[in-house]
Subunit: 243 residues, 2 copies
């Protein structure tokens, strides 16, 4: 199946970038500047789970109107700031909310992507919004060929419209498009929509000792330990280079 793949689209949070590390690092610096001791690991996990993950679910279930990731993050941040007693003015809160635009890639990500870009069109296909993905890539020097996001369809993965819409904007069939992700639920969604799938393990994305992602299923087309391994595996397949 992988021989006909022309484009690789990537989950981002936890697959390309280490969201937890960056949010905790910036939190510690912010708390220190404000003279405030905060359990930043807990703060980061709650922001992620109760803000973003639950927010995405609630939008998908129709319990919340459409809002993008920045808006979901800000909604939860305002609650957490009160709960943890951290006082920020509007400019400071807006800046901290954009920590999600400043997430740092896993160490193998930029090098691996550059190898993959030689043969494939590469793009994020994330539930993060377009400006978040654009700013993140510019800052981290990730060279995507284009930016794809659920925001373009006002739907969140694993809604099939996101996977199919991404392939359609690339001018490709679903089967010519491969999702790369560390989350089995995302990959299952892509597979149901007809995309090829590559699992990349990021076992510690919730921290050492944190919950582990489910093991990859045999149904995925490729299983790799990181992006360099993924490039090794995909680039040995004999298909024409990008024309």
């Amino acid at each position: 199946m992988t021989g006909s793949v022309r484009a690789l689209v990537f989950d981002v949070f936890g697959t390309v970038v280490d969201w937890r590390k960056t949010v905790i690092q910036e939190g510690i610096a912010l708390g220190s500047a404000k003279g405030k001791q905060i359990a930043w690991e807990e703060f980061a996990d709650r922001w992620r789970v109760e803000g973003y993950v639950r927010g995405v679910d609630d939008v998908s279930a129709g319990k919340l109107p459409w809002m993008n990731a920045d808006e979901l993050h800000r909604r939860k941040l305002d609650e957490l700031l009160i709960e943890y007693g951290l006082e920020l003015n509007e400019a400071e809160a807006a800046h901290f909310n954009r920590v999600w635009h400043r997430l740092e890639p896993f160490p193998d990500a930029v090098v691996g992507l550059e190898q993959l870009r030689q043969r494939y069109t590469i793009a994020p296909l994330s539930n993060g919004n377009v400006s978040l993905l654009t700013n993140m890539a510019k800052r981290a020097d990730i060279r995507w060929d284009c930016i794809l996001s659920g925001e373009l369809f006002k739907k969140y993965k694993p809604d099939p419209q996101v996977y199919l819409g991404g392939a359609r904007l690339l001018g490709l069939e679903a089967s010519e498009t491969m999702l790369v992700a560390s989350h089995t639920s995302d990959l299952e969604g892509a597979r149901r929509a007809g995309l090829a799938t590559a699992f990349v393990g990021r076992p510690h994305q919730w921290g050492i000792g944190g919950p582990l992602e489910p093991k990859p299923s045999d149904a995925f087309d490729v299983v790799a330990v990181d992006f360099i391994d993924l490039a090794d595996k995909l680039l040995t397949i004999r298909v024409p280079a990008f024309r």
Copy 2:
């Protein structure tokens, strides 16, 4: 007004890339391979004007349902192939239709864009479709920060929704976004939507002796002769670099 600009969005056909030259070159090679003499300058101009320009107008006026640039191009190509007596099979016609994905940049474009990218977020904001813009950039080594297209809004410039939608996806106000174009009608549309505007002269985009674009109006914020001149003019403005 230009001091608050954070992103530059670019018209593409005739501003970044020399559509006419590439279409004529590929046409000549194709005609030669098929042993067919064709007036390729006329063919190219008719494809552009009767296929794309009129097609965009007809979609905007509701005379045609939404279709993207690839579809508008293909619709006219099929007519022109019959009219000029050029027989292509489906794979050949599909490939020639994608000549618009292979247009070559004006000589100053890639260097100028790379200078501008150091300070600004840069993106196309074109009536060309996403895959066309993505493939073109990959082939020509243009490093956009993201790809913006009327296709994302199912509207064509100068509809204000395209300019406003582009700014919104970048997380910016209209006034923080500048359209760069060689077409005064496009710039007028952007200005009406509240964007900053930069005119770049491409006087011979319809060929030497072809129709000239109207002169730039005083209402545009910047007037430049090419992208290197534009970079010189914009980068002397003292604003913070991209953070």
